[in-house]
C-alpha cells in the first residue's frame, strides 16, 4: 500500500514538472474552485446526514435508519475522488467486508449495513457509529485543505465510472442492503458534475465530444431512473439479467468518451 502511494506521488510530481500542464492548469482556476465547492458541499451533506443516521441508530429506529442509509452514502460516492485523497480515511469509512486483510479491523458504513440488514436490528451498531461520525468529521476538516488539480478531476471522473464498472455492476458494494443503485447514481452524479464544470472549455475544443457525452450521460441516467419506484431505487437483486447488462453497457459506452476529457489538459 505504501509502496503504491510512493509511486503515485512520484508520477504526480513528474506530471507537474511539465510546463504545458501547468499552463493549462492555470487557466482552469475557476473550474477547480467550482469542483472544490461541489465536493465540500457533498461532504457537508455527508456529515449532516450521517449525524441523522447515527441518531436513528441510537434511538433504535431501524426503518428510518435503513431508509436513510443509501442517501447518506450517495454524498460520499459522488465526492469519492476527493474522499480518496486522504489515505486510510476512505477504507475506514467505506471498506467492504471482502476488502479486509486477515486481522484488519472493519469500520465504517458497511459493518453497520450488515447489522441492519442481516441481524435486522440497531443493537450493536454503536461501536461502529461513534467511529464513523468521527471519521466523516475528520474527512470534512481535511477536504478544506485539499488541493484540487485538473488531473484529479479528469482521472477522478474516469475512476468513478471504473468504480461503477467493477463493483457496482457486480452488486458487490452493498451485499447486505442491495442498495447499490444509489451508489451507482452517486458515482454517475460525481462524474457528470466534473463534465458539466468542464463543458464550456470542452465545447470550444471538441463540440462533438460534448454532444456524445451529453447523450451517454442521459442514457445512463434514463436507465437508472427506470429502476425507481415511488422515488426509490429498486434493490439491486431485483434487477433481471438484461437490466443489469443494459446498465453495464451504458456505462461502457460512457467511459470511453469520458476519458477523452483529458484533451482539456493538452
Amino acid at each position: 500500500m505504501s509502496l503504491r502511494k510512493t509511486s503515485i506521488a512520484l508520477s504526480l510530481f513528474s506530471s507537474l514538472t511539465l510546463s504545458g500542464v501547468s499552463q493549462a492548469a492555470s487557466n482552469l482556476d475557476q473550474e477547480l474552485q467550482e469542483y472544490k465547492t461541489f465536493a465540500v458541499n457533498k461532504i457537508d451533506g455527508l456529515v449532516n446526514q450521517t449525524q441523522q443516521f447515527v441518531d436513528y441508530l441510537n434511538a433504535g429506529k431501524i426503518d428510518e435508519a435503513k431508509a436513510l442509509y443509501p442517501l447518506v452514502r450517495m454524498n460520499f460516492e459522488a465526492a469519492e475522488p476527493i474522499a480518496e485523497s486522504f489515505g486510510d480515511l476512505d477504507p475506514r469509512i467505506d471498506a467492504r467486508k471482502a476488502d479486509l486483510e486477515p486481522g484488519e479491523k472493519w469500520t465504517g458504513f458497511h459493518p453497520i449495513e450488515e447489522i441492519l440488514w442481516v441481524n435486522n436490528t440497531t443493537a450493536g451498531t454503536e461501536k461502529y457509529s461513534v467511529q464513523l461520525m468521527s471519521d466523516v468529521k475528520e474527512l470534512r476538516a481535511k477536504v478544506s485543505t485539499v488541493e484540487v488539480t485538473p488531473e484529479l478531476m479528469v482521472q477522478g471522473a474516469v475512476d468513478l465510472l471504473n468504480e461503477v464498472s467493477t463493483s457496482k455492476v457486480s452488486g458487490e458494494e452493498e451485499i447486505f442492503s442491495h442498495t447499490d443503485l444509489y451508489d451507482f447514481q452517486g458515482n454517475i452524479d460525481g462524474a457528470e458534475k466534473i463534465f458539466v464544470i468542464f463543458k464550456p472549455k470542452l465545447t470550444a475544443l471538441n463540440a462533438d465530444l460534448v454532444k456524445t457525452l451529453e447523450l451517454r450521460f442521459a442514457e445512463v441516467n434514463q436507465l437508472l431512473a427506470a429502476q425507481k419506484v415511488d422515488g426509490k431505487f429498486k434493490f439491486y437483486n431485483e434487477l433481471n439479467k438484461d437490466e443489469v447488462a443494459g446498465l453495464a453497457e451504458a456505462v461502457n459506452k460512457l467511459g470511453e468518451p469520458l476519458a477523452q476529457m483529458g484533451i482539456i489538459l493538452g
Binding site: 506530471s15 475522488p81 480518496e84 482521472q155 477523452q260
Partner: protein, 426 residues
C-alpha cells in the same frame, strides 16, 4: 486510494509499429532491454541487447516482404481464400444506431483502421497529451502484421435494421433449424461480424479491440466472441481438429473453382463477396477419447493418420463411395461424415478453428470444440450439406452445435472506397 495520476515522460510514439521498433533499437529503450531479459539465454546482458537490436532492424526490413502482411485492398476481402492463419479472434456485434449516415461513417472508419492494422500499423499515433488514453491500445506495438486479415460481414437483421431488406438476395435469410441443433442465445444473433485471423493471437485480438473500441461508444455493442487456433508445421498442410482428423482437405477442390463455389456473382452489392456460415460446435472430447480407433475412422470416413478417404491411400485422392468390402459392405460407411457430405455433390470452403475454454464445472468436461466457419457462393450449399448430415451422421454422437450465424461478407475494397459501400449507397 484509487485516483491515479498519470506520468508524462517520454516521446509520443509514431503510428507505425515498425518505426517504433526501429526507434527502440537505436535508442536502446527499456522495451528492448525487457525483451533481452526475457530471452532464455545466459549471454551477458549487453550482448543480448545488441543482438536483439540487430534482430529488430532485420525484422523491420523483412516485414516489407509480402509474406508478412496481406494486402487489404483487392477484388475480394482477405481472410476467405487466404490460407488459414494460425489464430482467429471472431466477434459478433449488435448494431445500436440505425441512422444510415452514421453507419456509413462507421464503415468508412473501419475501412481506414483495417487498412492500417493489416499492414502492421496502429490505428493512430500516440498523443502528446498524456492525460488522455492512448489512441491505440498498443498491445501490438513491436509486433509485425503476422499476416493479419480482417473480414467484415453483415446478417439479414442488419439489412432489416437499416430498412434495406428489399436488397437482400433471395438466399440471404436466417439459417433454418437443423436436426439436433442446441443453439444458445449467447452464441446466436447479431448484425455484424468481424473475423480477425493472424499468425499471432495477440495481433488478431488487438485488431478487433481497436475496431470495437470507438465503435461501441455509439454504434455497436458486443454480443459474442470466440478465439481459436489452427496448428500446422507448414501452411500447405491441412490442420487437424481436436478429434485429431485433418479438417479442410476438400478445400483444395473448392479453391480450384472459386468462382463456382465461393464468390457471389449476381451483380448485386454482394458481387465478389461470399456468404459466411459460422457454427460454434462443442466437441465432446471425453466421449471421443473412449471411442475405438476404427470407430473414429468410421465416423469421419477418413484414415486418421493420412487423412485419405477410406479405401484410398493419400489425403487428396478422390472420394469413392462405391468401393465395397469383400462381403459387399461399403468401404466408407454410409453414415460417415465424409460420405454424407460428399453425396450432396456440394462444395464449400471450410476455414474452421479449434477452441478450448477451460473446464465445464457442471460436467467436469473440457469446454472445447470447433469454431466452424465456411464460405460459399450461396448459403444453400451449407444448408444442403447440413441437412444431409441430419440425424444420420455418426459424428452427432460427439458434437453439439451451440452457436450459429449467417453473414454476407462484402466484396473487397479498392482504395478510396469503403466496406459495404455498394449496399449502403446503392
Amino acid at each position: 486510494m484509487t485516483v491515479k495520476r498519470l506520468s508524462n515522460t517520454g516521446e509520443p510514439s509514431s503510428l507505425s509499429r515498425r518505426r517504433l521498433l526501429k526507434g527502440a533499437a537505436i535508442g536502446g529503450s527499456s522495451l528492448l532491454v525487457g525483451k533481452a531479459l526475457a530471452a532464455p539465454s545466459a549471454e551477458p546482458l549487453s550482448q543480448a541487447v545488441t543482438q536483439t537490436a540487430t534482430q529488430a532492424i532485420s525484422q523491420e526490413e523483412s516485414s516489407a516482404d509480402s509474406s508478412h502482411s496481406i494486402p487489404f485492398y483487392g477484388e475480394h476481402q482477405a481472410g476467405i481464400t487466404t490460407p488459414a492463419q494460425r489464430d482467429i479472434y471472431f466477434i459478433v456485434l449488435k448494431l445500436d444506431n440505425t441512422d444510415r449516415q452514421a453507419v456509413i461513417e462507421l464503415f468508412k472508419e473501419w475501412t481506414r483502421q483495417a487498412a492500417l492494422l493489416t499492414q502492421g500499423n496502429n490505428i493512430g499515433p500516440y498523443s502528446h497529451n498524456k492525460f488522455i488514453p492512448p489512441a491505440d491500445t498498443g498491445e501490438a506495438d513491436s509486433l509485425h502484421a503476422y499476416n493479419l486479415s480482417l473480414t467484415f460481414g453483415v446478417s439479414p437483421s442488419f439489412l432489416e435494421k437499416l430498412g434495406l431488406q428489399d436488397k437482400a438476395p433471395e438466399a440471404f435469410k436466417p439459417l433454418p433449424h437443423f436436426p439436433r441443433d442446441q443453439l444458445q442465445d449467447q452464441y446466436t444473433g447479431g448484425d455484424i461480424c468481424i473475423q480477425a485471423c493472424a499468425d499471432d493471437p495477440q495481433v488478431a485480438f488487438h485488431a478487433i479491440r481497436q475496431l470495437v473500441r470507438h465503435a461501441r461508444t455509439s454504434m455497436v455493442s458486443m454480443l459474442w466472441a470466440q478465439n481459436g487456433f489452427n496448428a500446422y508445421n507448414d501452411v500447405s498442410h491441412t490442420p487437424r481438429n481436436l478429434f485429431a482428423f485433418k479438417d479442410g482437405t476438400a478445400n483444395a477442390l473448392t479453391l480450384k473453382d472459386a468462382d463456382k463455389y465461393i464468390w457471389v456473382d449476381d451483380k448485386s452489392w454482394m458481387q465478389g463477396g461470399s456468404y459466411m456460415v459460422v457454427r460454434r460446435i462443442q466437441m465432446h472430447l471425453e466421449t471421443w477419447d473412449r471411442t475405438s480407433y476404427g470407430e473414429q475412422e468410421n465416423t469421419f470416413g477418413r484414415d486418421k493418420l493420412s487423412g485419405a478417404p477410406m479405401g484410398q491411400q493419400h489425403e487428396f485422392e478422390p472420394i469413392d463411395t462405391t468401393l465395397k468390402e469383400s462381403n459387399g459392405a461399403p468401404v466408407m460407411p454410409v453414415d460417415s461424415h465424409v460420405h454424407l457430405a460428399h453425396r450432396t455433390g456440394q462444395q464449400l470452403l471450410r476455414r474452421s478453428y479449434s477452441y478450448t475454454g477451460g473446464i465445464n464445472t457442471l460436467t467436469s468436461q473440457y469446454d472445447a470444440g470447433l469454431l466452424f466457419i465456411s464460405f460459399q457462393k450461396s448459403p444453400q450449399q451449407f444448408i444442403t450439406i447440413q441437412n444431409s448430415f441430419g440425424n444420420t451422421d455418426k459424428m452427432n454422437e460427439y458434437i453439439t452445435h451451440i452457436g450459429s450465424g449467417l453473414f454476407a461478407c462484402f466484396p473487397g475494397v479498392k482504395e478510396g472506397e469503403y466496406l459495404g459501400q455498394a449496399l449502403l449507397e446503392g
